[in-house]
């Protein structure tokens, strides 16, 4: 039996009459990549926002391990081990790549009142930042300013910052978006690598990539889940085929 690290129990989020996420339940287990796919506007990013606490749910429950965290703020969830990346590059552009990661890692030892201690001497955050850069292959560009990175490198940094906080649950919002084939391959290797020890929710448009790494796939359409299961099951599901390819198939 796999250990479920995060669970959504029939969570919904409504914006007025729009049901962006409607009654979605899913479980993220350790050592598993759970991919969420779906057409544009299916509510995938909103789902990540609900799980990470960036948006409050309209109804339903979010659990981290056995703890009910529905009412927790986003920083609280992040400190408890929920890490997320963004669909659009969302890093500290004017800071160096290293400082981006170090600042993320500093989350574990915030100690803001210790103003006599220099942040540069914070060994915990330094080590974690260096490890995250190493893992994502950004060590060589560590001293560059984040704004000067290529798009692909920024996507890597996005994931590196997420890793620097050493989360147990990773919510990755289209980490491959806009990446070249070579960069994509490296990111997929990284994802396979990260599977050990983490519960990963992967939102992705690239179907080849999804079927290459995912252990479970959930398909969303118009805010709701239409199918969930192992990749082969989902691939053969008629409703999924209809959603993606239309009636003719």
């Amino acid at each position: 039996m796999t250990e479920v690290l995060m669970r959504a129990n029939s969570v919904s989020r409504h914006f007025g009459a729009l049901r962006a996420v409607d009654n979605v339940s899913l479980a993220l287990a350790r050592n598993e990549i759970h991919a969420v796919i779906g057409t544009n506007g299916a509510g995938k990013s909103t789902l990540i926002n609900l799980l990470s606490g960036e948006l409050p749910v309209s109804s339903g429950h979010v659990l981290l391990g056995d703890r009910e965290i529905t009412g927790w703020s986003q920083p609280q969830r992040a400190r408890a081990g929920v890490g997320r990346s963004y669909q659009r590059n969302n890093v500290f552009l004017p800071l160096t790549v290293y400082e981006n990661c170090r600042l993320a890692a500093q989350m574990a030892t915030q100690r803001p009142w210790r103003i006599w201690e220099s942040a540069g001497h914070c060994s915990v955050s330094r080590e974690r930042a260096e490890a995250a850069l190493e893992r994502t292959g950004l060590t060589e560009v560590a001293s560059r300013v984040a704004a000067s990175l290529s798009h692909g490198q920024k996507r890597q940094l996005e994931v590196a910052m997420c890793l620097a906080t050493q989360p147990s649950v990773l919510l990755l919002d289209e980490p491959l978006a806009g990446m070249g084939p070579e960069e994509s391959e490296r990111m997929l290797d990284l994802l396979r690598n990260l599977r050990d020890g983490h519960a990963i929710l992967l939102v992705e448009h690239d179907m080849d990539a999804v079927f290459a790494v995912a252990d479970r796939i959930t398909v969303m359409v118009n805010g709701g889940v239409i199918a969930s299961g192992a990749p082969t099951e989902v691939r053969d599901n008629e409703e999924v085929q209809r959603a993606y390819l239309g009636e003719q198939v």
Partner: protein
Amino acid sequence: MKRYAFWIWLVAFALAATLPLLPPPIGTEFYIALGTRILIMAIFALSLQLLVGYTGLVSLGHAAFFACAAYTVAMLTPEYEAGNGWWLVLASIGTSGLLALVIGILVMRTRGIYFIMATLAFAQMVYFVFHDFAFFGGSDGTYIYFRPEFSLFGWQLVDLEDLNQFYWFTLLALLITVAVLAQLLRSRLGHAIVGIKYNEQRMRATGYDTMAYKLASFVIGGMFAGLAGFLFALQYGFVNPEFASWHQSGNGLLMIILGGLGSLPGAVLGAVVFELMRVWYQDLTEHWQLLLGGTIIAVAAFMPKGLMGGFSGLRLPHRRFARVKATAPAQTTATTVMQPQEHA
């Protein structure tokens, strides 16, 4: 802070310290008093720089904390003798910090233009409290007849009634302000508030309670504004509601914009240039405000990073951040270009 920046600060402070000793055209009562005023305004500008330039909180109500400390020292100074300096400085900084905490809790929920308006509104409330309550002396304010005494074990450390000593005392206060803020910016707290300035959303997603960080910055900024207000009240020997006026808050903003946002030396330089321009232009013409405003507009237009950005060849701390801003728009275009792909 880089090592050479440290030496530049040291030389600047050493030079500033010699002002009262210089021969007459400069070392006169007028210039020493002007120098003192500039140093006080530099403390005020630095305190605002922490908020605006480093935390990204544009406040138009910073004068409230300046005035709060000034009124505290005026109210607590005994009528017929000098008060205890240690107690007065702690009390005035403390009440400013407390006021900043209360106002901060209330305004921190707002952002951007709403934050500017909310801080302005609270500062106006403080203004009218001082203005309308007879206890505070109404629109005329209150006088301080004796500057406080700073003594240790019965030994008087400094005689603030002496012009030169008051100047050096103020210089020391500025030195402490610069040292504390420079160290604060090196600390984890400092790095976190700079992170909030650049990307608050990411800071929250990373696990920082950004509200508390911003509040901390607001309170620390308020306390240093209080230190400036304390000194200003002592220099002129009176307080009035104008201390809390939005003009005073606006002047602070102009100083840091003039000097360069996100730079400690920028705040000091901005205060120096602003106050000097005031004096020079007042000598030149009755319409000096026109000249002052024109100069500031010209600097803002042609030196977007302020005077400090213009001297970037000097390599001072945080130039790194300022320089990067030039490359930042490239990223915006990159994301806009990416957008169609994401929706494809």
